[in-house]
């Protein structure tokens, strides 16, 4: 009964009901939903995009935190970093023992091991020596000598006690008003005094020291961008740079410098304090506490046992977590894919629509310009752009967008030319519609399906190009990552540390596959003549 009533409120007779139209887009959406691969592709793309967008909220290690003890740890679901380090050390020791002849193996095995060494397959040597050594040690036929045992003991102690301390904030409490201030937000002079008090030196000395350091920093950055000058010229350039900075810029640089030192000092103090309590079983790690660091100053720190970390996808050459590097790398790659495509599509639509609709000389010159751009080697142009304007993400993305609007401009022009003589455009003109209205209300929406399909297929191409450039070392620079740069970094040590190559490549492959399936699905969905119609 209830259902019946509801129906009645919607429509009392056939004349006062409002029928919702079945637009072409809606139709396409319905057809897309029937295409399983496209839907899977879409889900994957959405999943990737969400992960990339909310990477900052995920419980992963910072992608740029370098822990040198954790270099090249293999991926593992069960063992934490400490255990892996221990295994690695043992492998090393057993292999050394085999070389020294202390780990006795059969002649056949010996020959095999030598062959592996010859073939540069050290991984297999280590693995075999570790397995053999553990077995022999358990059987009592092999024992570590005292120096080896010492090394292992030291490592184990290190694993048990070493802490990763991060200083989140440093506060200064005014002893008179007992009000707390965040040191990072103070201005340069106040910071200077605090620092001087901390180390018991005169503020003037600190100021001089800071100035020297800033000069050195500027000199280094200038030397990096413009090599081959004499020392006097460099000195002049530093002065220029200082002038350019002005008082404000200098102060901000200087306070960054001093704040860094304050943080380092605070961490040292906290680390000392924590060392005494780390062996207490009562203290639970990771901890998040506030410690006094002297001179009315307190530091809010997070501390965790460094070697209890787990790296599910292993680590790279400076001990950074591959999982978070892949996620943050995906962020860069996907962003470049989407934003780059969007920019090139926008440029392409506007120029293509103008060329197609206005026609005549405008069309002629625009299209000849496109032809010339086509004639230039595409990648070379991007590489030159990157080399001239400097290597950073923004330039990379501009360089890619700059040369990739050509195809879409041509395509839109073709579409618009075939549409502009249709009667509905003439109808709009006879109604006094302006050129802009005709282009953007009638012509572009009608060619949108082609544009959407093209852009979805364009995104993977963009990601590939970005990866290629990063692979060549022209794209994203460390500590930032992108899938391409991760693969590029891993290629050199591919045989020793295959996981460094495998996981970023896998992540990229899945995304590109998904994107291509989605693009194909969209093309079929938007094409009314396609076979999988409703």
């Amino acid at each position: 009964m209830n259902i019946f009533k509801k129906k009645v409120t919607v429509a009392t007779n056939e004349f006062n009901q409002v029928v919702v139209g079945n637009s072409l887009t809606k139709d396409a959406w319905r057809r897309l939903k029937k295409n399983k691969m496209a839907v899977i592709g879409m889900v994957v793309v959405i999943f990737y995009s969400l992960i990339a967008a909310f990477a900052g909220l995920l419980p992963i290690y910072p992608y740029d935190e370098i822990i040198l003890d954790h270099q090249h740890l293999p991926p593992s679901l069960t063992k934490n970093a400490g255990e892996l380090m221990r295994v690695k050390k043992m492998e090393d020791l057993y292999a050394k023992a085999w070389r020294a002849g202390r780990l006795v193996v059969t002649e056949e095995q010996d020959a095999q091991l030598k062959q592996w060494v010859k073939d540069n397959q050290n991984n297999k040597v280590w693995e075999f020596c570790y397995a053999e050594g553990e077995a022999q040690r358990a059987a009592g036929t092999f024992a570590f000598n005292s120096s080896e045992q010492r090394t292992i003991d030291r490592l184990e102690e290190k694993i048990a006690t070493e802490l990763q301390v991060t200083v989140k904030h440093v506060y200064w409490t005014n002893p008179e008003t007992s009000k707390r201030y965040d040191v990072q937000k103070m201005d340069y002079k106040e910071m200077l005094e605090l620092y001087a008090k901390m180390f018991n030196v005169s503020p003037q000395a600190v100021e001089e020291q800071t100035e020297m350091e800033i000069r050195a920093q500027l000199l280094n950055s200038i030397k990096a961008t413009a090599p081959d000058f004499t020392d006097e010229e460099y000195a002049g350039m530093v002065e220029d740079e200082l002038k350019k900075l002005g008082e404000k810029g200098y102060d901000s640089l200087a306070s960054q410098n001093i704040y860094g030192k304050i943080v380092t000092q605070s961490r040292r103090v906290v680390e000392q304090e924590l060392k005494t309590i780390v062996s207490d079983t009562d203290t639970k790690f990771p901890l998040k506490e506030t410690f006094g660091v002297g001179n009315d100053m307190t530091a809010q720190v997070e501390a965790s046992k460094k070697h209890e970390r787990r790296y599910f996808l292993g680590t790279d050459y400076s001990g950074r977590d591959m999982l978070s590097r892949i996620i943050y790398g995906g962020q860069v790659s996907i962003a470049i894919g989407f934003v780059g495509t969007l920019t090139s599509v926008l440029i392409g639509i506007v120029l293509g629509a103008i060329a197609g609709y206005v026609g005549g000389k405008t069309d002629y010159f625009l299209m000849r310009f496109v032809d010339i751009m086509y004639g230039l080697p595409y990648m070379l142009l991007v590489i030159i752009c990157m080399a001239v304007f400097g290597r950073n993400i923004l330039n990379l993305f501009f360089a890619l967008a700059l040369v990739s609007w050509l195809t879409i401009a041509r395509m839109v022009r073709g579409q618009i030319m075939s549409l502009k003589n249709q009667e509905f455009v003439e109808a709009a003109r006879s109604m006094g519609a302006s050129t802009g209205r005709i282009i953007f209300k009638h012509l572009v929406p009608n060619s949108l399906s082609v544009i959407i399909v093209y852009s979805t297929l364009r995104i993977p191409a963009f990601i590939m190009q970005e990866s290629f450039l990063s692979f060549l070392g022209l794209g994203v620079q460390a500590p930032y990552a992108s899938w391409g740069s991760l693969v590029g970094d891993a290629v050199a040590s591919m045989t020793l540390y295959p996981w460094k190559l495998f996981f970023p490549a896998l992540a990229m492959i899945i995304f590109l596959f998904a994107m291509n399936f989605l693009g194909d699905g969209l093309r079929d969905a938007f094409d009314p003549q396609s076979k999988n119609q409703l």
């Binding site: 056939e14 009901q17 409002v18 029928v19 637009s23 109808a427 709009a428 109604m431 009638h442």
Partner: protein
Amino acid sequence: MSDATAMKERQPLLVVKDLKQHFPIDAGLVFKKQVGAIRAVDGISFSVNAGETLGIVGESGCGKSTSIRSIAQLYKPTSGSIVFNGTELTTASEKDLLLARRDIQMIFQDPYASLDPRMTVRSIISEPLVIYNKRGLLDKPMSAIDIETRVEELMERVGLNKAFKNRYPHEFSGGQRQRIGIARALALSPKIILADEPVSALDVSIQAQILNLLTDLQKEMGLTYLFIAHDLAVIEYISTRVAVMYLGKIVELSKAEDLYMKPMHPYTRALLSAAPIPDPKVERTRQRIILSGDVPSPDKERTGCYFYDRCPNKMPWCSCHIPPMFKISEGHECACWLYDSTDHAGQSMEEAEADALASLRAKETAGSDIGAERK
């Protein structure tokens, strides 16, 4: 009806004088050079009175649609004048043109191509209102709700269910789509509607519905139509006056019944004789006038009668003299030398050519005199 309104009704709403629409033929890669022109419309003159329907007939490619598009200023006419309601459209400023266009609306031939497939019926019908509202050229500005009610009103007026306003054109049949096109043309309450073969893409029963709708609307709103068709029966049904076009020229212009009863021009006769008659007995005895040859290409300038190549009654005179419109009776004009007061039938080719040359010379000297005076 008072005399004043009668006078006003007789006053022509649209006067077209010597309208020419030539499309240039260009050659060359970068620097285009005009090497010729397609003379789609080559000097037509007529006037349309308020409240009447002027039908234009002619075979395909004779320039019917082009002339209507030039009148609507979709093409820039090559020469000639179009005066609508006192405004000269060919030289009007953009604002004047827009104001004049508010009263000139078009209905298109193909109901499938003339509606934007990405727009709902509501936005299609309201588009002229929205454009003119935005430009501030409506008599009084309309709010969104005003426009919405106007759209519903129009939909009901042309016989569409207003519940369908959110639908898209592809969800309608051809006849319904043409109704949408008519509703769009009516949105700004125009004075004249230029209908470019509005029924030729529809089947016969739907044609009748649309024609009846158009006549009803004309009676109700006092609309004027300039109506193109190549179906003679349709033209006979809807027109008060008929213009017959051939190769970019009007060859005969008369009241509808006159034309069908007493066709004067040889081409009109041939055209009318080609139409089947829905009566088997008459149809069996129908005499067809079969024209020889094809319609010549409109790409060269002509010195004689445009119909000369195919005319069954041609005389040597016709080959080198363009016929003016001869008045046959009240409201009946025909461009054929047969109806000249002097009889040209006896003249030989030599005589005709000599006469043409002499008149050309006379024109040239007159031209150079004017040139000399100017100097």
